[in-house]
């Protein structure tokens, strides 16, 4: 009896491709028989589920889903009395696939799924999950699987899922997938509209999708479609190029922001005292570690406010690194103003000491940061250009630092003193300015600014004891190029060097970019040894 039914069902399935896809019914018994059959029957059954998914009732789909899941997980037992669903692989009894009655599985065998059939079964399960699953995540996972096998899914399935979907985000994703599927639809009109729709939302992925279509026979046989396709590809290419350009500019700007923050403290210290602080990179590292410390404190004291730690870390990092800077100045550099070369070695020793101190005290591993929502993710703006919040945070942070530094230097008594000593130390001393105290405060200010750079780096870079080592050289190039003691020069040079690095990098690699920038700076110094914006100073 059962066998006859199976044969009939198989015959019915064989006849299926001749019928319009939407008309395929979902017969549970036939499906169970197919899945218990040989490799060809299993494939037929799985494909049948996909085809029928657009019209079948939710109950039928769920039942089909249970069968497919059981098959995929080796919980399907096939005997002469029909298919059984087991609770786990090798269980002694299970429920009948059709009636739901509990029967022993003694003489039943579990069919094995081949590699090709497994892919089909996964597609079918994904279609069922997309249409019937309870959780949004399960439906989204189903969509992800279906997108990978776009050619195997009828448009109607995705359209049904789109109409039934309640979650707006997932609904948009399904609409996108439906659009992609419509590109290979049999209806030429539908295909043309799909091309136009894809071209209206340009991205690297849509460009690849359209380009892949050009090789297909449909493009060759249908001149109208080929024209629409070429026009679509041209417009997407243009948009992607603009988007990539914007992305490069954005990266350059964020890199320049970091460079500026690393260099501005160095520029103030060097302009004022002629001392190069080789520990500047380590002050950046200290700023990042201070941020981490604030995060840990928040985690223990006020877990509810954890998202605010990055803001709270700003004054802490500034204060902590400024204090360390003032200590270094008071203990070491104060004695070395007449020997600038020795101050290089001394600050190098300080950097060596700080790196190893942190290494011993905290460890060498990268620190883990909880990313608050305002520095994670981003918003896609145009084509592939995504404005990521963490980089925007760095850019805004650098802009705020610039404004703050300008205010301090231009509008406060300390700033006035710093500018006076920078321009003419002897004359400033003659007028009664306490130059040594100003040096110390300025060194604290410069170090604190490095600490702020550390805060801005936390969401972007990996934070470990050695993170500061690369910064001094780049930052100093910025100071040299911009001209000593000029904030505007530092800004322009940071933008220039950051931009040059990011622009050259895709063409000839990161190393070549560094080489070209260095050679460029050395040659530039031939023409203007004082840098771009030489501060007026009297010696």
């Amino acid at each position: 009896m059962n066998r006859v039914r199976a044969v009939l069902a198989a015959l019915a399935m064989l006849a299926l491709p001749a019928l319009p896809a939407a008309a395929a019914p979902l017969e549970r018994a036939a499906l169970a028989a197919d899945l218990c059959g040989d490799a060809a029957a299993q494939a037929r059954g799985a494909e049948g589920v996909v085809r029928a998914a657009a019209d079948a009732s939710a109950e039928d789909l769920r039942a089909a889903g249970h069968l497919l899941a059981a098959l995929a997980e080796r919980r399907l037992a096939c005997g002469s009395a029909g298919a059984l669903l087991l609770d786990r692989a090798g269980a002694p009894d299970g429920q009948d696939a059709l009636t739901g009655a509990t029967r022993p599985a003694a003489e039943a065998r579990a069919p094995v799924l081949g590699l090709r059939q497994r892919a089909l079964v996964e597609t079918a399960r994904a279609a069922v999950a997309l249409l019937t699953a309870e959780s949004v995540a399960a439906r989204a996972a189903g969509l992800t699987t279906l997108e990978r096998r776009a050619g195997a899914v009828p448009d109607a399935v995705l359209e049904r899922a789109r109409d039934a979907e309640s979650d707006p985000g997932l609904r948009a994703s399904i609409a996108g997938a439906a659009q992609a599927a419509a590109l290979s639809s049999a209806d030429p009109e539908k295909r043309r509209t799909a091309v136009a729709a894809v071209a209206a939302a340009p991205s690297g992925a849509s460009l690849a999708r359209l380009r892949a279509l050009r090789g297909e026979p449909a493009a060759a046989s249908d001149p109208a479609f080929a024209r629409a396709l070429d026009a679509g590809i041209a417009s997407v290419e243009r948009a992607v190029r603009i988007g990539d350009g914007l992305a490069i500019l954005y990266n350059a700007l964020s890199f320049a922001s970091i460079l500026f923050m690393a260099a501005v403290g160095l520029a103030i210290i060097f302009g004022l005292m002629g001392v190069i602080n080789l520990a500047q990179g380590e002050f950046i590292m200290l700023g990042a570690y201070a941020t981490w410390g604030v995060q840990e404190a928040f985690r223990h004291v006020a877990p509810g406010l954890l998202d605010l730690y990055l803001i709270a870390a700003i004054p802490v990092a500034f204060g902590a690194t400024a204090l360390v800077g003032i200590a270094v100045e008071a203990l070491v550099l104060r004695h070395l103003y007449r020997r600038p070369l020795m101050s290089l070695l001394a600050t190098w020793a300080v950097s060596l000491f700080l790196v190893n101190l942190v290494r011993v005290a905290v460890g060498t591993q990268n620190l883990q940061f909880a990313m608050p929502p305002y520095v994670s993710g981003g918003v896609p703006l145009y084509a592939d250009f995504v404005v990521t919040w963490n980089r925007l945070f760095a850019i805004l942070f650098a802009a705020a630092t610039l404004a703050l530094t300008l205010v301090v230097l231009r509008r406060t008594p300390l700033g006035l003193d710093i500018r006076a000593v920078t321009q003419n130390r002897d004359m400033a001393a003659c007028l009664g300015l306490p130059t040594r105290r100003i040096d110390r405060l300025a060194f604290g200010l410069g170090s604190g600014l490095a600490g702020l750079a550390g805060v801005a780096l936390c969401p972007i870079y990996s934070v470990n004891p050695g993170m500061g080592s690369g910064f001094v050289i780049d930052a100093f190039m910025v100071v040299v190029l911009g001209g000593v003691g000029s904030l505007a020069g530092t800004l322009v040079a940071a933008l220039g060097i950051g931009g040059a690095n990011v622009l050259i990098e895709p063409l000839s690699g990161a190393v070549a970019a560094k080489v070209i920038v260095l050679v460029g700076i050395i040659l530039f110094l031939q023409r203007r040894p004082e840098g771009l914006f030489a501060a007026r100073r009297r010696r």
């Binding site: 001392v275 004695h335 600038p340 070369l341 290089l344 070695l345 080489v515 260095l518 110094l525 040894p529």
Partner: protein, 365 residues
């Protein structure tokens, strides 16, 4: 000081009575004695090797002291010239080994190339390799020195730009397609002038060569700094503007000594690489180049003997401590630097009370 350079005539008149520096004589004597001791006494190979490496480092320190202590130019990129010597030496050893044994070096096989790159041609001949190493170091130094000194880049500016130079060179050498071994560098040298590399004869020969080279470099640089040129170097260090105003070509003077120093550093690299049996881009790390300045500062800059003492002491301590307690070494090194910089401006020579410093060498920055 100003009296010494009032006229060229006066300067050259005083050169003939160049003051003695007994420390140099002592050190040269020690080098020769150690060389003889190594040959006759046959100590354990690791000890011989250590002595040889220390001698190579001492040569490197002398090369830096020549321009820092006597010309006031602090190079934080001397690792570059050391590495040029080392890389060319490694290329010679591998090319020579390829000719003799017929097997290609590991990194060539790793990149699945058919043979050595074209620019390796002729490197199996030792004299050519030696010439190339010194010539290349001199050429790079000349080009860099020309653009730097011409635009009057000096002081800390020069130091940092030279550091950037060595940093960029390191990034460049980390690439695998340069034909120089990439980040793994070059190792597995089979032969040295036909001797197997690790044999006692080769080890002793290298150490003795390094000691003799150190003695020769010390004697040669001592003659140089005592000559009229040496006087001009000191004058340039103390007041370059005045010397230039007096009609001396200070740019050419600095360029000459800078190139000489680079070539001495390359010589140190040539002697160093066969002793350790490997060279890789880490030699070009900026930290290592700063360390050379640290040896000189610790030993006592502006004294050739001080550079030797500093290099030998710091590296001997490093050999010992890196094995005994590696965590403590960076702290000790930074403490030592701060101590020397703050308390002993003339290095350990101050501490030893060896105030044999000739009056004309005072005033170094």
């Amino acid at each position: 000081m100003s009296g010494a350079v009032q006229t060229g005539l006066a300067a050259s008149a005083r050169v003939r009575r160049a003051p003695r520096d007994p420390l140099i004589a002592v050190l040269v004597g020690l080098c020769l004695a150690a060389a003889i001791g190594l040959v006759l006494g046959r100590p354990a190979p690791y000890l011989v090797n250590a002595v040889g490496q220390l001698a190579a480092f001492a040569i490197l320190a002398v090369s830096l002291d020549l321009i820092w202590g006597y010309l006031g130019i602090l190079s934080l990129g001397h690792g570059l010239f050391f590495a040029i010597g080392g890389y060319v030496c490694a290329m010679h050893l591998l090319a020579h080994g390829t000719v003799v044994t017929g097997t290609l070096p590991d990194f060539v096989q790793f990149m699945s190339w058919k043979g050595l790159p074209a620019y390796w041609a002729g490197l199996e001949h030792a004299p050519y390799a030696l010439l190339l190493a010194l010539g290349l170091a001199g050429l790079v130094a000349f080009l860099f020195g020309l653009v730097a000194f011409r635009s009057r880049v000096n002081g800390v500016y020069f130091s940092i730009i030279s550091q950037a130079l060595v940093y960029v060179a390191m990034l460049l050498m980390y690439r695998n397609d340069t034909g120089l071994g990439g980040n793994n560098g070059m190792t597995g040298f089979p032969l040295l002038f036909g001797w197997p590399m690790g044999s006692a004869g080769a080890v002793t020969g290298l150490a003795v060569a390094a000691l003799l080279a150190l003695a020769a470099v010390l004697a040669g640089t001592r003659l140089l700094v005592g000559s009229a040129l040496g006087r001009r170097m000191l004058a340039c260090r103390d007041d370059e503007t005045r010397l230039r105003t007096l009609g001396y070509a200070t740019t050419r003077l600095k360029l000459q000594v800078w190139c000489l120093s680079a070539m001495i550093a390359a010589l140190a690299g040539i002697l160093y690489v066969p002793q350790v049996g490997i060279i890789n881009p880490r030699v070009l790390a900026p930290d290592l180049s700063i360390e050379i300045a640290v040896w000189v500062a610790i030993g006592g800059m502006g004294r050739l003997g001080g550079a030797v003492i500093g290099a030998v002491l710091v590296n001997a301590l490093k050999f010992w401590l890196s094995a005994a307690m590696p965590e403590a070494w960076p702290f000790l090194l930074s403490g030592l630097v701060l101590l020397v910089v703050l308390v002993l401006p003339n290095g350990l020579l101050d501490l030893a009370g060896l105030r044999l410093r000739p009056t004309w060498a005072r005033g170094a920055r």
